[in-house]
Symmetry: C2
Subunit: 208 residues, 2 copies
DNA sequence: CGATTATCTATGATCGATCATAGATCAGTG
DNA sequence: CACTGATCTATGATCGATCATAGATAATCG
């Protein structure tokens, strides 16, 4: 790499990963406007790397639906509609309901993992931290399902990113849900078979 | 490409796509054994292309969980466990339940799309064709949900491939389910709100 | 002057070569 | 002979350059 300048170092841990982070940050922060073209060579030049790892990063962004690409025509930042933002909730709800139903058996009343996140959520000081702990609570349920495919699919939704976009778009309040988290945890503790539906409805309550 | 020989032509429509097809075919057919290493350069040489499109194809296979890769250590064909094969059903069930609940409203009793697939399934002559029409029935439900994210996630499960692997592993009978498909279609026709659960249970009935 | 076609330009897709890393192999030392 | 470290080998990761395509632009013709 003929890089004796350029952006903050880019430490060695897989250029593709780092470039992806830069691009995600750029898109969520709004530095790259929706609809704006993303030219592989330009990004490569700006970051002082070559085209290949940029392409790799772009494929990840495409999987996250942050960009859209046309064959031989390149990529552009998606123009997220309210519908795009809304579509994620039924999918999450379905996946997390499944996860909860699977998890409730495996947890056998052991809900420490969930309680940790509730505590951290309560201690959160800013909106961003609040969001991350809330998401971590849900991720804990998915992890507890023991279904690796389910985890992988849920992860691939990129909840953090889309939630951040939702918050940016309209100031969706996601607090005030702490009580529901506690109720859900109690349902897990007593092995309530209705916990799946409970989680489902909880997730849908975030939807606009 | 210094290719004046090599495998059947490889027509021009995106090398990555074609290579992916070749690899999927090779893995599902068992020509590539589970655990076997997949060396980018070797594939490239065999197909008379370069490393880049092979890498692209491999990333797709990774997303389909057909291969696993270690950083700097390359890819190998996954050694599918029975658990791997089983994990897909709860995920499908959750997604398709969501899809059905969304679709039942949009369809408003118009179930022609579903009936087409039932008819084709009945007319199927071999096991493979049967499988594809059965899957098409389920895809129709997902499409009818109108939720593009849901469709995208469902597609990314690569149902065809995994079903084929299931059939190969143990001779899972997936026929005899025609009756259930008809029942589900009827539920859609009358707008039965219980259709989601019905689809869920139907999908789970395929599980081992 | 408007429609059609050849050319140009930007850029994605692909290529062949180089760099970097993980293991394997081998040499040296006690 | 076992252990430590240098070297070698295979191969993924990355690079710089070339090829191919889409759209824009200019040239040609009626």
């Amino acid at each position: 790499m003929s890089n004796m300048n350029a952006s903050p170092a880019l430490v060695r841990t897989g250029l593709g990963d780092q470039i992806r982070q830069v691009l995600i940050e750029g898109i969520t922060s709004g530095r790259w406007a929706p609809g704006e073209r993303i030219v592989e060579r330009r990004i490569a030049a700006e970051l002082g790397v070559s085209q290949a790892p940029v392409r790799e990063a772009l494929r990840h962004l495409e999987a996250l639906r942050l960009i859209e690409t046309l064959p031989n025509r390149g990529a552009r930042v998606r123009d997220f509609t309210d519908e795009d933002l809304a579509e994620v909730f039924p999918v999450r709800a379905g996946l997390e309901e499944t996860a909860a139903d699977l998890a409730v058996h495996r947890m056998a009343g052991q809900v420490e993992g969930l309680e940790v996140h509730i505590a951290r959520l309560a201690a959160a000081t800013d909106r961003d931290e609040e969001m991350r702990h809330s998401i971590a609570f849900h991720r804990e349920i998915v992890e507890a399902s023991g279904n690796r495919l389910l985890r992988s699919v849920w992860q691939s939704l990129g909840i953090e990113v889309w939630t951040a976009l939702s918050l940016k778009r309209r100031g969706t309040e996601l607090c005030g849900k702490a009580a529901e988290h506690a109720h859900i945890t109690e349902a897990f503790r007593r092995g309530d078979p209705g916990v799946g539906r409970m989680v489902h409805d909880h997730v849908m309550s975030y939807a606009p």
